[in-house]
Amino acid sequence: MRFGPDQPLRLDSRARLGGLEIAYRTYGQLNADRSNAVLVCHALTGDQHCAGEHPTTGKPGWWNRVVGPGLPLDPDKLFIICSNVIGGCMGSTGPASLNPETGKVYGLNFPVITIADMVRAQAMLVDALGVETLFAVVGGSMGGMQVLQWAADYPERLFSAVCIASAPRHSAQNIAFHEVGRQAIMADPDWRAGAYAEQGARPEKGLAVARMGAHITYLSESALQRKFGRELQRDGLSWGFDADFQVESYLRHQGAAFVDRFDANSYLYITRALDYFDLAQGHGGVLANAFALARNVRFCVLSFTSDWLYPTPESRMIVKALNAAAARVSFVEIETDKGHDAFFLDEPVFHGALRGFLDSAAAARGL
């Protein structure tokens, strides 16, 4: 969806983004009274392809266990919208896009964006699709932060909201890990101060290292131990620095696969948006105030026991604030050893809770 120069996106940084492009995908049909629309919000490195085949990688969509016929978000019943966040690199305007003013790739001239900016762009898309109120806005991790931002900024447009494995703000540890990733990218000589696109280079090494470091935070110690232990790639040690251990080889593979599909500057911008996220900050430092107008929204907050990126106390902070705002909130902590990434994986209890919440909300909505 392309927006004309007359419809620039106003950013928190006070900059304006003209000629906005939002890449999106929809599943299912909008019903006659336009009451069945769901917005799915993706995580840091996700995209609009939450279900079906991914056109670039040929792999199934990132949420193929949640979005699809017979699944908790069923396109036979719902009109499901999923868009690439601004700042991203899967078709929405981001640092790899052409700056309409200069005709060159933005690179570091792209303005710094926030979670609220991403949500403002989504609201423009939802408007353009003719949807006034969303039956649900659903997301995990960074997607969960967008869900919370929706509840703060557009509460009257939401019937329900599902925030999974997320947090109301980035902690010092979250920022610290992101800084390591950004420094890895910027230390790559091929990053060229962000101008690699013009110079025909790609900071693949730096981006791969950033991904390797981040990937560890998406798993858990026990999951890594269960999956790899101290297993070796070959018989015996190499007495050198090859990938002796299976876990090393796995991480290298994760890094290499990531650079094929992701832009390094997008990684900088989106991690920055996450670090800047602090929902209470814009509301007098009181998180409950952010939800003051969201009393009528049905909230579901879900966390995972082994998630140490956004651990359960972060979700409890959200629940506490929603309670204080007298909102209608449900919360479950799902027992799993799969860490933060559990929300992508085969977790029947998680899917059961999600389905229970969404089905009963759909019944209440008359769907």
């Binding site: 049905r298 579901c300 409890r316 629940v319 506490k320 309670n323 204080a324 007298a326 209608r328 909130v329 449900s330 919360f331 479950v332 902590e333 799902i334 027992e335 209890v349 059961g352 809770a353 389905r355 229970g356 919440f357 089905d359 009963s360 909300a361 019944a363 209440a364």
Partner: protein, 222 residues
């Protein structure tokens, strides 16, 4: 817990004012909350310790938070509810006195039920058998029971007096039989009630001009 829960539910349904806001602590799979919503138009919320219980509640469309009364009641703002319900679990709390205070901070009224350790069968078991009682209402042996703070009716009314909590109504519950209105300070009741259910209000709250009075009237007018 056991088959008395239905009598318990019926009594609670009778006490709760239609359309009120209710928090049930230890709501299990949400049976009572669902009844309160369908029969009394109550805006109900739950707190439940087990993930399976919360998931069952979600599927029923109930708003339930996973957590426990010992730790998580502090997260609720004062006066958020008209009633806080704690059914047959006060004796399992680490600090029942604080929990009771918290219930009446969060809600204007509390509905609390407890097994009566002064019941004649309990006394009989202890005096004649010389053993910790195992009865219909206290079915587990001492080494596996979750009940760590058992009390008699007198103990409970003493605690209420100590906290200045007003007992607006009380009923004796005996398995399979309808709830019976009672005067909890009577010695006879401390022998015959297997369980007791109380409608409590805050210190200094006046019954006569309070909205809960109608519900109490209903209880006594049967």
């Amino acid at each position: 817990m056991g088959t008395t829960s239905r009598e318990d539910f019926r009594e609670i349904l009778r006490l709760v004012r239609p359309g009120s806001r209710v928090l049930e602590i230890g709501c299990g799979e949400g049976g009572l909350l669902e009844l309160l919503a369908s029969e009394k138009g109550v805006d109900g919320r739950g707190l439940e310790i087990s993930a399976a219980g919360v998931s069952a509640c979600l599927a029923r469309g109930l708003a339930v938070v996973q957590g426990d009364a010992d730790g998580d009641l502090a997260d609720y703002p004062a006066d958020a509810f008209d009633y806080a319900i704690l059914s047959q679990t006060l004796q399992q709390m680490r600090d029942p006195r604080r929990v009771l205070t918290e219930l009446l901070r969060i809600a204007e009224r509390a509905i609390v039920s407890v097994p009566n350790f002064g019941h004649w069968r309990v006394r009989w078991s202890l005096v004649v058998g010389g053993r910790m009682p195992v009865t219909r209402d206290l079915p587990d042996p001492w080494w596996s029971t979750a009940n760590i703070h058992l009390c008699t009716l007198r103990d409970f009314t003493d605690l209420c007096a100590d906290l200045g909590v007003r007992i607006e109504a009380s009923a004796a519950l005996t398995q399979g039989r309808p709830a019976r209105q009672m005067e909890p300070s009577r010695l006879m009741e401390n022998l015959r009630a297997e369980q007791a259910l109380f409608l409590l209000s805050r210190p200094g709250q006046r019954t006569a001009d309070s909205r809960g009075a109608a519900a109490v009237g209903d209880l006594f007018d049967r």
